[in-house]
Amino acid sequence: MTVNWIEILITVIKILLVQIILLTGVAYTVYTERRVSAFIQNRIGPNRVGPAGLLQPIVDVVKLLMKEDIVPNQANRFIHSLAPAISVGVALCTVAVIPFGDKIILFGREIKLQIASVNIGVLYILALVSLGVYGITLSGWSSNSKYSLLGGLRASAQMISYELSMGLSLLGIVLINGTFELDTIVLNQYGWKWNIILQPIGFITFLVAAFAETNRTPFDLPEAEQELVGGYHTEYSSMKFALFFLAEYANVIVSACIITTLYLGGWQFPYLQTFGISPMIMSILQILTFLIKAIFVVLFFIWIRWTIPRFRYDQLMSLGWKIMLPASLLNLVVTSIIVLLLKYN
């Protein structure tokens, strides 16, 4: 086997670019969240640092880096430090299979705008989502505090419950496309054929499950301040706390990217091919389309957070097991019947 160094170099550059964009995106999602929440609550929000407060994220990071890092006395030191790393690692790895655009030709070389084009893309996402539980469970346990443990347990129970309906609603898309590959799924969503139109119930169940998986309101019980102080990250300070914060917002962005890819047509701009533009401009337009769609989904996440109050815990569980799971099962059965009928007609 010969190692193709140029291919490896291209992949490394892609990884670096995507991670830089993702991390900058996280910083500015936090800023946007604060500004939008201020707007919704009739306040002004951070506007002092830089023009319109645009440098606020940098100041926040510097502040967090300067803080003292405290590990509780009875805590398991190694696992206490490992937990935030797992959270962030999982959040940053998921982005690897998301296609940001079609193939682009640079310097006479065809480059795919996706870090890893694997034939199990959908399963990869589900597998990493199921690994995300570890960060939260371990942080809750290792802090040796009752609030953290309760928060961690709540988060894990919630994530395990909602994983099921998430996976089942994804199966509808897999059935329609007959593949796990995300680039093929995007390619099949040309014209008006976005999966949100073909799979409306699946879209709703996936969206609700995505909210529950990212622990955002109305499903933010793991960090319900009134009951649990801060939930699983009560005992974290300084940069370790910042890592949990980073993981949460990275998860929001990655979920937005996944929703865009699977249900909103990914980088497909409807009927762009009919305009007759040069391929280079078309690729740039496709990447922009993807980014704009993803930004809209992120704004939707923020909007929901500051509009809808939190569920009670029993309501959350009964919604997950009694409504979401049957709805996604029904969606799966109906989809498979329709796919079967279309195949034999």
């Binding site: 086997m1 490992l82 570890y134 796990f180």
Partner: protein, 182 residues
């Protein structure tokens, strides 16, 4: 074997996997042991990837790391088992027998592999394409639901029985008059 990227990766993964397996059975803290088991599963799924079995690798991560080990950790954490000093027992006759038995077992396996496969010399041609084909989900799905449909159905029924049993066990008191109380 030539020193390609795949063999280097294999050696790294294999060393981590054996190391984590050893740590798993020697650590006293059950949570640490569970974490080493997770690391072990992770490296094994990496080895599956090197064998071009992407589907099996990801299923390994999803089922073992994502589902089973989460439940294991849950149980360990809720029982709050600290360092178990009682688990270390002194020399016993039972221990000696188990060591002897496991040595016999490994010798048997070793001889079987050594004499059973030494005279088979598989030609490498055509193997690469076949493994790529086998690793895909479509191939496994087709085989499972045509040739092996019956075992799949039986496994499904077994799992259903296990789920019903778990629900029955979880319901502590079965009161037919008022099922909501306790």
């Amino acid at each position: 074997m030539d020193l390609s990227l795949i063999s280097i990766l294999f050696v790294i993964l294999a060393v981590i996997s054996i190391f984590s397996a050893l740590m798993l059975i020697t650590r006293k803290n059950p949570v640490t042991s569970a974490l080493y088991l997770i690391l072990n599963f992770f490296t094994v799924s990496g080895i599956y990837l090197l064998l071009k079995a992407q589907f099996i690798a990801i299923i390994q991560v999803m089922v073992y790391m994502g589902a089973i080990m989460v439940l294991f950790l849950f149980v360990i954490m809720l029982l709050n088992l600290r360092d178990e000093k009682n688990l270390t027992e002194s020399f016993s006759f039972k221990k000696l027998t188990s060591v002897l038995l496991s040595i016999t077992f490994f010798v048997l396996i070793g001889t079987t592999f050594y004499f059973g496969f030494s005279n088979i010399n598989p030609s490498r041609q055509g193997v690469e394409e076949k493994t790529v084909e086998i690793g895909k989900a479509t191939f496994l799905g087709e085989k499972l639901f045509t040739e092996f449909a019956m075992p799949v159905l039986i496994a499904g029924i077994l799992l259903l029985v296990a789920i019903i049993g778990a629900v029955v066990l979880a319901k502590k008191k079965f009161d037919p008059v008022s099922p909501d109380k306790e």
